[in-house]
């Protein structure tokens, strides 16, 4: 049972995607700080009800409103009002950093995706074998993650394969597409994005949850890497042979 021999393109993509993901997490948090309220639907703001609000910004207050105007021609009770308070807003560099890092993620991700598909990497290393599928084996694999020492074979375990597949084929595509859905220019050309994610604010909320899920994956991933031989694993995915 030898160690996994990662291909050079896998290592390169892993490295770029890791760095861009970290930059995206930090800048995404900074962007969220200027409006830590999340909504469901086509639009949402401080004058409409929120799904929930995160207590992450000291400088974000619901201050007062002035110059309230009720629109006579509308049947609802929509108003326009002027905000009387300043908020934390470092979005200038936050946004630009976010989109720059997103370029690296999207380009490296696309190359990884295409190469992984054509080289048979997904088929031979990530898709579970038929004989692996079964509740008993799944349960056994799940329990083995809590034992010490953690099983370290040359191949990925069942749970590991399923998790990697979910991250590559579900979480990353969702987080990238919901990111696109927040862009006014991209959704003008591809309005179906607003349909499949239930609107601009729903896309923002899904973006938040899928990014949180990726962050959770990162934490568990690092813990498992450490528990199954930190130095060996790090070398295998970076500069080791």
């Amino acid at each position: 049972m030898g160690d996994i021999q990662h291909k050079r393109w896998v290592k390169g993509a892993h490295f770029i995607i890791t760095l861009s993901f970290l930059a995206l997490t930090v800048s995404g948090y900074v962007i969220l700080m200027s409006h830590p309220r999340l909504y469901w639907g086509k639009a949402g703001n401080d004058l409409t009800p929120a799904l929930f609000e995160l207590p992450i910004s000291r400088n974000y207050h619901h201050g007062g409103w002035e110059n309230r105007i009720q629109f006579k021609h509308l049947t609802g009770s929509q108003i326009s009002a002027v905000r009387t308070y300043d908020i934390f807003n470092q979005n200038g560099w936050g946004r630009s950093t976010h989109f720059l890092a997103a370029w690296f993620l999207v380009v490296a991700g696309l190359i990884y995706f295409i190469t992984g598909f054509f080289s048979g990497h997904f088929r031979s290393n990530l898709v579970p074998r038929t004989k692996e599928l079964g509740f008993k084996l799944f349960w056994h694999d799940l329990l083995s993650h809590f034992r010490k020492p953690v099983y370290t074979g040359g191949k990925y375990g069942l749970l590991q394969k399923i998790t990697y597949l979910a991250v590559i084929f579900f979480l990353f595509p969702v987080v990238i597409l919901t990111g696109f859905t927040m862009s006014p220019a991209i959704t003008a050309s591809y309005p179906f994005l607003l349909k499949i994610f239930f609107g601009h604010q729903s896309a923002r909320t899904i973006h938040f949850f899928s990014a949180s899920a990726l962050l959770l994956f990162l934490l568990v991933h690092v813990v498992m890497v450490a528990r199954s031989g930190f130095k060996r694993n790090i070398l295998a995915i970076t500069f080791g042979k």
């Binding site: 962007i31 969220l32 200027s34 409006h35 309220r37 909504y39 086509k42 639009a43 949402g44 703001n45 401080d46 004058l47 409409t48 409103w65 110059n67 105007i69 629109f71 006579k72 021609h73 509308l74 609802g76 929509q78 108003i79 326009s80 009002a81 002027v82 905000r83 908020i87 807003n89 979005n91 200038g92 560099w93 946004r95 630009s96 950093t97 989109f99 720059l100 370029w103 295409i114 190469t115 054509f118 080289s119 927040m182 862009s183 006014p184 220019a185 991209i186 959704t187 003008a188 050309s189 309005p191 607003l194 601009h200 604010q201 923002r204």
Partner: protein, 251 residues
């Protein structure tokens, strides 16, 4: 055998990427902006070139139903009619507002054949478009409203825009400004709005006239319009870039 097959595939993919990249690059190079110096701004420029190169430039932003209209928070740098407002105050604007904007005119200058001043009546003769669209703030929130106004493209054409013109700078009485390229200036949904949700544009929503650029983020939508300057060279009218903000905000 397998190894050999893999190489040809890889080569085919590589060749595909290279040719697509070369095509995109040749189409985009002309559109690069000259003022980008640091790494963050180069990322912005890459986004600008990619969106201009890949996206359809005439595609309309999503238009909504009347029942989708939401409340609308006003966020700006201050009330131009209020002397207490340090950044935004304009004595000229205060007097115009006192007179209910009867003497207000919009000045059109720069690379146009017929520079001039347009009263509200002059502008309304140029055309009208009504759209229910989403205002998307860089902070993360959004609001939907119905806007009626004069297409900016119709005004520029009436003023006789010159062939060398490349950018349109829009300045408000609140000492705020923005510039957009010709594709956004002539986009069918780019209008100078005088009516919001069926009412004369309320004071703090930018009375008497404001810009709506539906394919970009909220802060491009200049309020309290004073003058429009058409330029052949890139002018950062905000300025956005020296204040640390992205000039192009299609994302």
């Amino acid at each position: 055998m397998k190894e050999k097959k893999l190489m040809t595939r890889r080569r085919a993919i590589f060749a595909g990427f290279t040719s697509v990249g070369a095509l995109l690059l040749s189409g985009c190079l002309k559109k690069a902006l000259p003022t980008y110096g640091n790494i963050l701004r180069m990322g912005d420029n890459l986004t600008y070139m990619a969106q201009r190169g890949i996206l359809s430039q005439r595609a309309l932003a999503m238009e909504y139903q009347k029942s989708d209209i939401t409340s609308f928070p006003v966020t700006d740098i201050g009330d131009p009619a209020d002397p207490a407002s340090k950044v935004a105050y304009s004595k000229a604007y205060q007097e115009l507002q006192r007179n209910n904007f009867k003497d207000w005119v919009l000045s059109v200058e720069g690379s146009v054949g017929k520079p001039g001043k347009y009263s509200m009546d002059d502008l309304k003769k140029l055309g009208e478009r009504t759209q229910i669209t989403r205002h998307t703030c860089e902070e993360g929130w959004s609001a939907i409203a119905e806007w009626t106004g004069v297409p900016l493209g119709a005004l520029l054409q009436h003023a006789g825009i010159l062939p060398a013109a490349r950018f349109v700078c829009i300045y408000g009485y609140d000492n705020y400004g923005e510039s957009i390229d010709m594709l956004d200036a002539f986009h069918p949904q780019t209008i100078l709005a005088h009516t919001m949700n069926g009412e004369t544009l309320p004071a703090r929503n930018g009375a008497p006239l404001r810009l709506r650029v539906e394919t970009q983020i909220g802060y491009k939508n200049v309020k309290y319009l004073q003058r429009i300057v058409v330029t052949d060279k890139f002018v950062d009218a905000g300025p956005d870039i020296s204040n640390g903000w992205s000039w192009y905000t299609g994302i």
